[in-house]
Amino acid sequence: MNAALIWEWIIKSVIVLLVMTAGFAYVTWYERKVLARMQARIGPNRAGWAGLLQPIADAVKLIFKEELVPDKADKVIFILAPVITVIPALIITAVVPWGPTVHLFGRDIALSVANINLGALYILTVTSISVYGITLAGWSSNNKYATLGGLRATAQMISYELALGMAMLGPILLAGSMSLTDIVNAQQHLWYIVLQPVGALIYMVATIAEINRAPFDMPEAEQELTAGYHVEYSGMKFALFFMAEYIKMIAISMIGASLFLGGFQGPFLSTFPWLGPIYLFIKVVVLLFGLIWIRATFPRIRYDRLMSFGWKILFPLSVVNLMVTAVVVRLVGG
């Protein structure tokens, strides 16, 4: 291991972190714009051209806001909870490749941070620990609405994690590898959404529930829980929860694009390897549009329906999907 290799990894990690945080700022702008258009409004249009400076104005506002800590709150966990929420969101995309190997500065550089042979398992691991921040935020606030929101989030995320894992096993079986780079490379001629339509659907539904987005945003239902687990948070700590949610939106779009939509694959990739990140970016923007569209269209569903849907429909469906996939892969010899 030489110094140049370490620098390469550090630079790639920093790029991923910067892209994710900048992406967070502009996904909020994108969501507000798209939602506004769907509701026949204009959306943010004052700060900068087409409101493009709006995220920066929001950030400045949130930084200068007063930070409140409730008197009876558990102070240590109350301050730690937003951090615990953001870290899994930032590290989950480490295994997603953004392009093939490119030649730069006389070196062959793979456009991915970590091409490990357990990429998909790594994603499930990080997903499984990402529930802690929300749970602890709800508990440490010492507020009944926040606690209820935290409990709802815990139950919901544990329930949908199973279906998510089962849906991710489809592409793994087809590619014969848990490495996301291998899965993307195996989709050079045919995207897995064609072979795994049910799996892709389960993945989308389960991930929306995992990141607590509408119509599964029960943990932060405004009307019944005022705001759920982050009701006591203000200023930058509040912003960190939003940052985690929007970064997770980008992350699930990236992972979904890699698993089912061919990731960075596209025409002319072998001649122009730099097209890889652009193809991935386009697919992520399309998937993000889908997420916002779903939020604008569907009403929030009732909590007991949410749980019974997860356990009685989504989970059995994902098991059947997995069994059929396994048998077909075995018979065809994939």
Binding site: D74, I77, I116, N117, L118, L121, Y122, L124, T125, T127, S128, I129, V131, Y132, T135, L136, G138, W139, T147, G150, L151, T154, A155, I158, E161, M178
Partner: protein, 172 residues
């Protein structure tokens, strides 16, 4: 001292400190969090030993599933604080006896094994490759694997039976 040994010592200190803090903490939520810290430190030790699958499975199963449910139950019941009185008075002497027995066993094993060959501290090839690990689980170790799955199934059925049994009492 090699870099690997330094990393191991740091991780070992974190793991032991977290385990001790779990036992000594008076707040059960903190106890649960220290236990999670302990699991993660041990998972990183597995990583340094060249067993990434075991490391990730450790975090997913213990930290990601079991401890989340522990926290859920603690928060749901509002059981953050221990009760002042010891509810099971016979437990303490038995625990002391068993603990002494375990320490004695450890000391005996340490004394008798001095000078014998060390156990290998790097994982075999099978631990790094998920495919090889799966083949091993379903061929060589299929019996323990199936027994474990039956055990888990029994636990799941037991949970269902326990919650269904409550229905009759509610009607009264």
């Amino acid at each position: 001292m090699s870099a690997g040994l330094i990393v191991f010592l740091i991780l070992a200190v974190i793991a032991i400190a977290a385990a001790a803090a779990m036992l000594l903490s008076s707040n059960t939520v903190y106890s649960a969090l220290f236990l999670i810290m302990n699991f993660i430190a041990i998972a990183v030790i597995y990583l340094t030993l060249g067993a990434p699958f075991v490391a990730l499975a450790q975090i997913t199963v213990y930290a990601g599933a079991i401890m989340v449910l522990f926290l859920f139950v603690i928060m749901m019941l509002g059981a953050e604080k221990f009760s002042e009185k010891e509810p099971l008075t016979w437990q303490r002497p038995v625990a002391i006896l068993l603990g002494l027995g375990l320490i004695g066993e450890g000391v005996y094993a340490l004394l008798t094994r001095v000078g014998t060959q060390m156990l290998s501290n790097t994982a075999t090839e099978a631990m790094a490759d998920p495919k090889a690990l799966g083949v091993l689980l379903y061929t060589k170790y299929s019996l323990p694997f199936e027994i474990t799955s039956i055990l888990l199934l029994v636990a799941a059925v037991g949970a269902v039976v326990l919650t269904r049994g409550g229905k009759k009492e509610e009607k009264q």
